[in-house]
């Protein structure tokens, strides 16, 4: 799941070196915090939030595959 977020984010941004993913585990859920360079935030979110929405759906499918739940937060 971390690989998914990193793969998509690094492919979309202009500054792949600034892409960082932090994870916090609770009993039922993993919360991923995606950090990208300030100028790249819009690229990861997309028009009307479509890319962020799509990435969250793919993350959910990937989490379901592993029998858990995952949440994505996007930060500067």
């Amino acid at each position: 799941m971390r690989e998914l977020i990193e793969f998509v984010a690094r492919s979309l941004v202009d500054d792949p070196a600034s892409v960082r993913v932090h994870e916090q585990k609770t009993e039922t859920t993993i919360v991923y915090q995606l950090h990208v360079a300030r100028d790249d935030v819009g690229k990861v979110i997309g028009k009307h939030g479509r890319t962020a929405h799509a990435l969250r759906l793919l993350l959910s499918a990937s989490a379901q595959r592993r029998g858990c739940k995952a949440v994505l937060e996007i930060k500067e």
Binding site: L4, F7, V8, S11, L12, R50, L57, A61
Partner: protein
């Protein structure tokens, strides 16, 4: 023919997966020695992205999701079609009302357009989902159109993605006595099937809908 293709590939410095070709003349080796052999002619067009590029991109993305799949890429009517097949995970990749497939389509489209110049549309499918979905939507549109005609009342379908709305509009356009249009914004855009009362407007040209039965954008 083969020879002509090989020649063109050598000239472009491309291999077979990187081009789209069309046979213009198949050529012949002469007839009973009476006629001279005719040369074969092929039109070879280099694809901006190769099938291999797209195959690898989709395979890598699925792998990063923990999903093993067979990915098949082919050219159809100027578009690039990507068919994904998995062992028992098709449902997971399609999602409720195809929303996960739509997400996959969006992400692959964005990644591909960043890495390669786009050339035609990129259309993703999981198994034969799109075909089944299309059949389902057409049948639904026909049943609802029947109801609209019987009751004279408009019916608003659930929100649909643009390709799905297009299927509904096209299905309704083939039927008499009904028309369709789209309402709502963003993810809430949906199709309305309405009675087509063109007869009543015969003297009032200004309020007639388009001749194809649709009004406005898809």
């Amino acid at each position: 023919m083969e020879e002509a293709l090989e020649k063109a590939l050598a000239e472009l410095g491309a291999n077979r997966g990187e081009v789209h070709y069309e046979v213009l003349e198949s050529g012949s080796s002469g007839f009973l020695g009476l006629f001279k052999g005719r040369q074969a002619r092929v039109r070879v067009e280099r694809l901006v992205h190769t099938h291999e590029d797209i195959h690898d991109l989709v395979t890598d993305l699925l792998e990063s999701m923990g999903i093993e799949a067979v990915v098949d890429v082919r050219r159809e009517e100027g578009d690039t079609h990507v068919v994904i097949r998995t062992e028992g995970l098709d449902g997971l990749l399609i999602g409720r009302r195809g929303q996960t497939l739509a997400a996959l389509q969006h992400v692959v489209g964005r990644l591909a357009s960043r890495e390669f110049d786009q050339d035609g549309h990129l259309v993703l499918d999981v198994g034969d989902y799109r075909q089944r979905r299309e059949t389902h939507l057409v049948e639904k549109a026909q049943a609802l159109a029947e109801k609209v005609r019987a009751t004279g009342r408009e019916i608003n379908l659930e929100p649909l993605h643009a390709p799905d709305r297009r299927v509904v509009h096209l299905a309704v356009a083939r039927l008499a006595g009904v028309r369709s249009y789209t309402v709502g914004q963003g993810l809430h855009r949906s199709v309305v099937i309405a009675p087509d009362n063109r007869e009543e407007f015969r003297d009032d040209q200004s309020s007639r809908p388009n001749d194809n039965g649709t009004t406005g954008r898809l």
